[in-house]
Symmetry: C2
Subunit: 311 residues, 2 copies
């Protein structure tokens, strides 16, 4: 049997046909329709069928459809997904009616962790976390072999842990949230501030040469041994570590995976974070070591993980 | 059958005979011996037998001994308990040899939550937390009906969540930990600071009248509508709320109980915290309401909860 994984984002919907060992053998995608949720669900049903077609798999060989949604999903209903403007959407039931297949939906960050846990770098662990660093910060945890969901599955919004009470404003309305300091957005802001302050510095030169400022700009300057880039990275590492320390102190995973573009920076990001966290976590040497590694799947985690909801 | 619950602290060891419905029918206690752990375990074995005697219960009617330990306990071994100076102590096995009873040990904060969950204010909930505010802050959580332990049971050290990165130094060596702001110690420090700054103020007058400064001083001044006491409380509430918001965002309990002396301040502490947390938690009205209540058992939670380890 095969599974279809659907990764629903604010901009696009991606469908993939996934094998039982977590391989994607065919994909289809489309822009996320604006407006009534039924439009999106009709499009998803259509994409699923097309995905089976392009994968050369008969519709009868599909065991079911898993869907990862950027919001809170409980018992088949999307309680809220602000990027999609969905509130109380009966997702599973509606898509089941449209496709005649079993449907299971879940939070997208949780799906990505399921993919890592079943097929990727968190395989074999009983307590694992995935921190996705992007525009914001998404978090997901498995505790004793089970997704940590909490009451009404509303849990693990780790990006909104307060790490600097009274600090920078966050999109959520509070101040000092982890994602206001540790997201790629925050790193970009620090990079841009530096370019403004030092228009003749190395970072500004890198930006000019590449004709853009993005999450990689700082790391290009670091490879040129720029001391300003080093200072910005050190501040950023401390902020990322603060949230990781909190999560490790609370949940004590064996492994935490880091996802998102910056996770490619093994030497500048992943390794120093592993060192910082293990140095600072409560109980130090008397407590077990926490591995910090790059996530395995990048963008494919959404599709694979959605399919994992059915496995 | 009956159970013996042992609450082991840095200063004293308390034993209680506990019925199947969580009532304590007899108690014995002694000072915690300094030195080799075997001394403490021999004393505990003796206390257990005396506890049965004073309770008029035959030793054969004791189903087992549960012990709450201020440290990390995994699989019957105390990995570390710094207040006791215990590192790698084979607790369960040793006490079993000394008593010929089944022994189960666990972290003391977890025991207190077990008591609340089985017999107290958290009864019936699937996701519950207990925050004990004292010299430091202890935290314990039940997730989907199971204690949250983490790898090697080293989890839920919530008192050491960083809520003000770079802020006040904490005993653990880091800066900005929750307990450096939200413990009774922190509240006392704020009270003492105010007395020094305003020796003719209401708080100073309360301290003089009671001939002491303790966790209640501020609340006496609040009852006299002192605006300085109000300002200190508001700052304190915000700091306590910051950690609670983090915990709720991550773990989404249905209910969080507050233990420790300050939890008696229903109007000044518990109710405002419930309001603040529900106002500020991620997802606001779209997410389930979190109850914040006083813990039921006070000091007895340790004994009752230790017995719960066996139930």
């Amino acid at each position: 049997m095969y599974y279809i994984g659907v990764d629903i984002g604010g901009m696009s919907i991606k469908c993939g046909l996934v094998t039982q060992d977590g391989k994607i053998i065919g994909k289809k995608s489309a822009s996320t329709p604006v407006g009534d949720y039924r439009l999106a669900l009709e499009l998803i049903a259509e994409l699923c069928k097309k995905t089976a077609e392009v994968s050369d798999v008969n519709w009868t060989e599909i065991a079911g459809i898993g869907a990862g949604i950027p919001g809170t999903v409980h018992d088949g209903t999307v309680s809220f997904a602000s990027n999609l403007n969905w509130y109380g959407v009966p997702f599973d039931r509606t898509l089941e009616q449209l496709t005649d297949k079993r449907v299971v939906s879940g939070n997208d960050a949780n799906c990505a962790l399921l993919a890592e846990w079943r097929f990727g770098n968190a395989k074999g662990s009983q307590n694992a976390g995935l921190i996705t660093i992007g525009t914001g910060i998404g978090t997901a945890f498995i505790v004793e072999g089970k997704l940590l969901l909490g009451n009404m599955s509303a849990g693990t919004e780790g990006g909104h842990m307060i790490i600097k009470s009274g600090g920078r404003p966050c999109n959520c309305g509070l101040r000092g949230c982890w994602e206001a300091y540790a997201s790629t957005t925050a790193l970009l802001e620090a990079t841009n501030r530096e370019i403004e302050l030092n228009p003749t510095g190395v970072i500004a030169a890198v930006a000019k040469e590449r004709d853009m400022v993005d999450g990689k700009t700082l790391f290009f300057a670091l490879r040129q041994c720029d001391s300003r880039a080093r200072a910005i990275l050190d501040d950023y590492l401390e902020d990322v570590a603060a949230g990781l320390i909190n999560l490790v102190n609370l949940l004590r995973p064996e492994i935490v995976l880091i996802g998102g573009g910056v996770s490619n920076e093994e030497e500048y990001l992943i390794k120093p974070l592993e060192r910082l966290v293990n140095e600072k976590v409560y109980g130090g040497e008397f407590n077990p070591f926490v591995s910090i590694k790059k996530a395995s799947f990048g963008n494919a985690a959404g599709i694979i993980g959605a399919a994992c909801l059915l496995m």
